[in-house]
């Protein structure tokens, strides 16, 4: 159910809006990961990983290259199947669900926008592919898309093509597209990886605001520790397929659990 947002004020780059929170159809769901293992070609990428994410929490998966963080994210999304372990969204088994049925909104590092479609069609895509019975009417789809465009501060850009947008704008379209399907959880793979430093800083703040408004359980992957520490409610630090510590940023800084973490943070 969508509640209307008021028009965005354009005076400040990322102004505080009076917009109502976008409400997901059900209350935010927790994510339970138990004993997930995954190997590629004999090489173990994830080793018996367990993680419990509270409803509405914003969790960062932080770690160096090869730590398995993106694989874990993709397993949550259903883009990879684990060799072992269980995964639940709000108590319901998720492993048995296909990618299509899982409704885990995913924002790719390269955005993966459909270049041959307009921004509007990109965002509306998840709604237009639904089977006829559950598909919203055209007017309702248009309303949702435009509400999202406003929320992402991209008013009026519905008719543009992705190639006509800046990197930051494309990222927001990718996020809007994922949000349009009213996902149960939101997953972001290095959301700011492809952007330059100044844009990254601005968008960090903005992503936190979006999370607060949508109240979705959100997981994002990053190798940038300042980003993880600044944004997330809790941070899971991964190294070589294992979670070395899962705690708030301040706790990790105060009491790093292993030598690796100490080194990684310095």
């Amino acid at each position: 159910m969508w509640l209307p947002s008021e028009a965005a004020s354009l005076s400040a780059p990322f102004p505080q809006e009076h917009a109502e929170a976008v409400v997901a159809p059900s209350a935010p769901q927790c994510i339970e990961i138990v004993g997930i293992s995954k190997a590629f070609g004999g090489h173990a990428i994830l080793k018996n990983v367990s993680l419990s994410i509270e409803p509405g929490e914003l969790v960062a998966l932080l770690g160096p290259s090869g730590s398995g963080k993106t694989t874990l994210l993709r397993i949550i999304a259903g883009l990879e199947t684990p060799d072992e372990g269980t995964l639940r969204f709000g108590g319901d088994d998720a492993i048995g669900l296909s990618v299509q049925d899982r409704r885990a909104g995913f924002v790719f590092q390269s955005y993966a926008l459909f270049r041959h479609m307009t921004v509007f069609d990109n965002i509306a895509y998840g709604l237009t592919v639904r089977p006829r019975r559950s598909r919203p009417g055209r007017r309702e789809i248009a309303k949702r898309v435009n509400d999202l465009l406003d929320m992402m501060q991209l008013p009026g850009l519905g008719g543009r093509y992705p190639t006509q947008l800046s990197g930051g704008q494309r990222q927001r379209v990718a996020l809007a597209r994922a949000l349009a399907i009213e996902p149960r959880v939101l997953l972001l793979d290095e959301p700011f990886g492809a952007l330059d430093a100044k844009v990254r800083k601005d968008l960090r703040q903005w992503l936190r605001e979006i999370h607060d408004r949508t109240a979705l359980t959100t997981v994002f992957v990053t190798h940038d520790q300042s980003e993880a520490m600044e944004l997330a409610d809790r941070v899971a630090i991964l190294n070589e397929g294992r979670i070395e510590q899962l705690a708030t940023a301040s706790e990790i800084r105060a009491r790093p659990a292993t030598a690796f973490i100490r080194e990684f943070l310095s």
Partner: protein, 296 residues
């Protein structure tokens, strides 16, 4: 990038969860293989099987016929004239287009490609319209007692036309992408233009050049439609290998026709092999230059 060991081997990564079902995949592969096998592979096989219909003896017997030998000689002669000429032209045009900036470059490239778009029969017709009895230069030609149409020169001209773009097409894009820096460096070191060309440019393009020459040659030897129009089909004189194949086939010397055709088929296979080799080499040199991308 995602932390999957995706690009560890060259080529397509392992099947992902979002791919089409294995059954559908199998069906598509089956259809593709059947189609290729039926339409491409089987005809190729037919050439060789029919050539040996009368055994090895019958196969070899074909090449003792004087008309056949004349056809082979003529084909080799035409190729020996056409290939060097078009190669020289191709290199000349490539140097002009790749090493200089000027307006109208696109037009020149389009014009060079023109023979590709012209039907073979029309390619032969135009030379008849120029040099034939009723042609533009017809009277001029007859006055001097020259024979162009229905003689070897006509065949050479028509073959020149149809094989015109082959070397240029292979070499121009490569030279364009290689830029001018190396040649300019050679000049600063005291080399003349010609020397720079032979010592710097040629080695850089040698594989593409070789392939272009191979294509040019294959087409020069195999051209049928254009040569058929200008040749006059005079036995022992103006029949190239393809034309002789037609004659043998129409006279119901089927096995001989195919035997002669195997020469061209083998040439085609060599061409295909060379292409694979060239692509493999290009992939190698491409990969060598890339920086390592750390998996996430």
């Amino acid at each position: 990038m995602s932390d999957l060991a995706l690009s560890s081997n060259a080529g397509r990564p392992a099947a992902s969860v979002v791919d089409e079902s294995p059954l559908l995949r199998l069906a598509i592969i089956a259809v593709a293989v059947a189609f290729l096998g039926l339409f491409l592979l089987v005809p190729l096989v037919v050439v060789f099987v029919e050539a040996f219909a009368h055994g090895l003896g019958g196969y070899l017997q074909t090449f003792f016929d004087s008309d056949v030998l004349a056809a082979i000689r003529l084909t080799l002669l035409v190729a020996a004239i056409v290939v060097p000429l078009n190669t020289a032209f191709g290199l000349c045009a490539a140097w002009w287009i790749a090493k200089f900036d000027f307006r109208g470059k696109d037009l020149v490239v389009t014009l060079i490609d023109l023979p590709f778009s012209v039907s073979p029969v029309v390619s032969g017709l135009i030379f008849v319209l120029v040099f034939g009895a009723q042609g533009v230069l017809g009277p001029w030609v007859t006055a001097r007692g020259l024979h162009i149409i229905f003689a070897v020169p006509g065949i050479v001209l028509a073959t020149l036309f149809v094989t015109f773009p082959f070397v240029a097409r292979e070499v121009i894009p490569l030279m364009q992408s290689q830029g001018r820096a190396e040649e300019e460096a050679a000049l600063t070191l005291g080399a003349s233009g010609l020397k720079a060309f032979f010592t710097v440019t040629l080695p850089n393009i040698r594989w593409a050049l070789a392939y272009g020459v191979l294509l040019c040659n294959a087409r020069a030897m195999g051209e049928f439609g254009a040569v058929s129009v200008v040749s006059g089909h005079i036995r022992g004189l103006t029949n190239t290998i393809p034309l002789q194949v037609e004659i043998l086939y129409n006279e119901y010397s089927i096995a001989s026709a195919f035997a002669l055709a195997t020469l061209l088929a083998l040439l085609a296979l060599v061409t295909l092999g060379a292409k694979s080799l060239l692509e493999w080499r290009t992939r190698q040199s491409d990969n060598r230059g890339l920086p390592d991308v750390a998996p996430e």
